[in-house]
C-alpha cells in the first residue's frame, strides 16, 4: 500500500469514526420514558427476598477464615499456657524439642496455610 492509499484509508477511517460518533450521540441523547417500567420491575422485586449482603463465595471465605481463627484460639487455650504458649513453642522448635506447644504451633501454621489456600481458591 503506497502513501496515497494509506492516506485515503486514514481519511475513510476518520469519516467512519465521525459517523459512528454522531449516530451514537443521537442514540444516547434519546430519552426513553419510564412509562411504568420501574413500577413493573419493583412489583417483581417486592416478591423477592432481600439481597444477601455477601454472596456464597464471600460467605464461604468468611467461614473458612473464622474457622481458622477459632481453631487457632482453641489451640492456644488448650495446648499452651496462656501468653507463654508462643514463646515456649518457638523456644521448643528452636531447640528441636518436641513438646505439645511445638506441635500445637506447627498445627496452627499448617491449618492456617490449608485454610488460606482454600479461601484463595474459593475466590476463583
Amino acid at each position: 500500500m503506497n502513501n496515497h492509499d494509506q492516506q485515503h484509508v486514514m481519511e475513510q477511517n476518520n469519516r467512519l469514526d465521525a459517523m459512528l460518533q454522531a449516530d451514537s450521540l443521537a442514540h444516547r441523547d434519546q430519552y426513553i420514558d419510564n412509562d411504568g417500567f420501574s413500577d413493573r420491575v419493583m412489583a417483581r422485586v417486592a416478591a423477592l427476598p432481600a439481597p444477601a449482603a455477601f454472596n456464597a463465595n464471600t460467605r464461604r471465605r468468611l467461614l473458612i477464615i473464622w474457622s481458622a481463627a477459632l481453631l487457632a484460639l482453641m489451640t492456644v487455650m488448650t495446648a499452651g499456657a496462656g501468653d507463654q504458649f508462643l514463646v515456649d513453642a518457638f523456644m521448643d522448635l528452636a531447640t528441636k524439642t518436641i513438646t505439645p506447644n511445638a506441635v500445637g504451633l506447627l498445627l496452627i501454621v499448617v491449618a492456617t496455610g490449608v485454610m488460606g489456600v482454600g479461601a484463595a481458591s474459593s475466590e476463583r
Partner: protein, 194 residues
C-alpha cells in the same frame, strides 16, 4: 420518595445493608432509559424483547447486588448483566432472532435524505458484523464505554476487544466506502437527527 442527592454508590450501600427497595427503585429510574436504549440497539429494535431483558437485568441486579464491588460504575455493571442476560435470551430464542422474524422499531417516516440513508446504511453495516464485533462497537460507541469497561462488560480480554473493534471498523469502512469517499460527515448526519 425521591433521593436526588444520593450517589449511585450511596443507594447501592443502602440496598445491600438493609434491602432498601426505595433506593433500588431510584436506581432503576436513573438507569432505565440508557439500559433500555442500549438493549433496543442490541436487539435490533425489538422493543418488547429489549424491555423484557431490561426487566430481567434489574431483577438480576437486585439478586446479585451483594457482588457489586464498587470498582466499576453501576451502569457498567448493569451493562455486563444485560449483555449476559441478552446472550442467554439469544440462546433460548435463537430461531426467533434469525433473519426475517425481527420486527424493527418503527422508523420516523421522513423524506429520504442523505442523512437518513446514511444512518440506515450504518445500521445495515452493523448487522453485517459478527456478533462479537457488533457487541464491541455497541459497547464502545453506543454505550460510550472505554475499552477497559467494554472488555469487562463483554467478559473478554482487552486485546480481543481491540481486535474486534479493528475488524468491525474495517468491515464498516468498506461497506460505507460510498459515503466515506463522498465526504459525508457528522454534520450531515446530524441534520437528519432532529
Amino acid at each position: 420518595m425521591a433521593l436526588p442527592e444520593n450517589s449511585d454508590n450511596d443507594l447501592i450501600a443502602r440496598v445491600i445493608s438493609c434491602g432498601d427497595q426505595h433506593a433500588f427503585a431510584e436506581l432503576v429510574k436513573r438507569h432505565q432509559s440508557a439500559l433500555r436504549a442500549s438493549l433496543r440497539k442490541m436487539t435490533n429494535g425489538h422493543v418488547e424483547l429489549a424491555d423484557d431483558v431490561a426487566q430481567e437485568t434489574f431483577i438480576l441486579a437486585w439478586k446479585n447486588i451483594g457482588k457489586f464491588r464498587f470498582e466499576a460504575k453501576f451502569s457498567t455493571w448493569l451493562y455486563r448483566i444485560a449483555f449476559n442476560a441478552w446472550q442467554t435470551e439469544v440462546r433460548r430464542k435463537h430461531e426467533l432472532l434469525l433473519g426475517e422474524d425481527a420486527t424493527p422499531e418503527a422508523e420516523p417516516t421522513e423524506p429520504e435524505s442523505t442523512a437518513t440513508n446514511l444512518r440506515h446504511d450504518l445500521a445495515r453495516a452493523m448487522v453485517d458484523l459478527s456478533e462479537a464485533e457488533h457487541a464491541a462497537i455497541q459497547q464502545c460507541y453506543y454505550n460510550d464505554l472505554s475499552h477497559d469497561e467494554a472488555a469487562y462488560v463483554l467478559g473478554i480480554p482487552l486485546g480481543t476487544l481491540k481486535t474486534h473493534i479493528l475488524r468491525a471498523r474495517e468491515k464498516m469502512r468498506q461497506r460505507l466506502a460510498a459515503y466515506t469517499d463522498s465526504g459525508v460527515n457528522d454534520a450531515t448526519l446530524n441534520c437528519g437527527v432532529n
